[in-house]
Symmetry: C2
Subunit: 251 residues, 2 copies
DNA sequence: CGATCAATTGACTTAGCTCAAAGCATGTGG
DNA sequence: CCACATGCTTTGAGCTAAGTCAATTGATCG
């Protein structure tokens, strides 16, 4: 919504993140320069959103903060009660959370059939936004960049498929544990041992992304709390006493 | 497993399918030639599998038949009964179906952390298999091809995310209806009106891909049958009387 | 310091899972 | 060509995890 005053910082983060995976020759550097030219470094205040510009697909690179990717899909699990007078049957499209995103992530915000996507800031958010068209026009001359973007998209595909299986085949407790492990890794930067961090999303967000209700999320957290695997602190605070135990719980 | 006797046919189907989305200039034609050189046209008998070659990722293009993409993931929803003596807790990895694939699909068979993937033939299957590395080496010189493959992968990502929401937020009946609508489109080539075709997958496959049990799938089919929305005929036969009604049911 | 919204907790209901027993196809060998 | 065996599918009878509804508690902010 509003252009950041720290434009250069966002771009630098973008360059740095990609450079780490690049051979570092001058060709790549030039491509990165050109990408920085077509990219828009922006900041969103917490709660604000960005979406695919009309018929333009977007590729968004996150440099700071946390975000949720939302899709407005046809409403689900409506009461079968056909007698209900105000049964706003299929016209309502309620939003669902597809994924959470953190610094270093590429997000593909395409405007396809599946209902329009938007990226909402869970905290103040720094990002670099590209028109998908422009990004590709620049990147297509550089095999290394192309490989990165393609491999990221295939990675995202497999992460999504894995999550799909988890939602389809795991219990509420397992999903919750899996979610917390993932957050510890993404937010806390921990993959083992103890870990303390702040969850940027609400219970509603968590529930939605896991295919549960807020009540169930709350109960599972309470249960993990009682089992002394975690410790919740207020609305957002979280301490994990032993990540590997949680991983075990996640199956 | 066995090289097809109709090698040329598979390649032709691959060329034709890509050509339809290409500008049709000589540059593209040359790239297609080179892709055909590095691709292996193969046939799998029903029931056989193909997987990522050791540490080599594969890109597979389906030219005929039907297939399921399977991942071996950590076992889920184990009985919490810790007293059970033979509780083979987390070492067992049971396979789950990620997606069904049909002619025209690109399948990305990568060997990542998420458990090895394999593509299993539901019917006799014709495909063109590429080493991901070789495919990219050829394709990276042709922006048009790169765009296609990237857009396919992003498409697959969004299909997977949509399915994830459906599994997480829809009832068994809605999922079943949605599945049948999708199959009508993919197998029967119908998007409205009546439609009759043969389901290549078993109830177990369906159940697994929807995150349900075979019993529930069977019951939902029976229920849709009684509602005269569909008509099952033996193990595989299916007739949909009105796809739009089913779509309504799917939400 | 209320007002408001998020989160928890409890009581109850139910969709879908589990276990178990038939019922059908499909393929095989006599 | 038929009988049988095997594996898929259907159907039934509980049971339970998770959803729904409702009331309370707790945070956060003007």
């Amino acid at each position: 919504m509003q252009v950041s005053s720290t434009k250069a910082v966002g771009m630098d983060a973008f360059r740095a993140s990609l450079s780490a995976h690049l051979p570092g020759n001058t060709a790549c550097e030039r491509t990165l320069d050109r990408l920085c030219e077509v990219g828009q470094s922006r900041s969103l205040l917490c709660g604000h959103e960005i979406r695919g510009h009309r018929h333009r697909d977007r590729i968004i690179f996150i440099t700071g903060g946390a975000a949720k990717l939302i899709a407005a899909t046809p409403s689900a699990r409506i009461a079968q009660n056909s007698a209900s007078a105000v049964a706003d049957n299929s016209s309502v499209r309620l939003p669902h959370i597809l994924a959470f995103h953190f610094p270093g992530d590429f997000v593909f915000v395409v405007n396809e059939a599946a209902g329009d996507l938007r990226l909402a800031a869970l905290t103040d958010l720094d990002l670099v936004a590209f028109s998908s068209e422009q990004f590709l026009r620049v990147a297509q001359d550089d095999p290394a960049i192309i490989r990165i973007i393609l491999s990221r998209s295939v990675q995202a595909l497999h992460r999504s498929q894995t999550k799909m299986i988890e939602i389809g085949h795991k219990s509420a407790c397992q999903r919750m544990a899996g979610f917390l492990v993932a957050m510890a890794e993404r937010i806390g930067g921990c993959t083992s041992g103890a870990c303390q961090f702040s969850l940027p999303m609400t219970r509603t967000d968590i529930a939605d992304s896991l295919g549960l209700t807020i009540e169930t999320v709350s109960r599972q957290l309470a249960s993990l709390n009682k089992a002394e695997l975690i410790e919740t602190n207020g609305r957002n605070g979280l301490r994990i006493s032993d990540i590997s135990k949680l991983k075990l719980e996640a199956g």
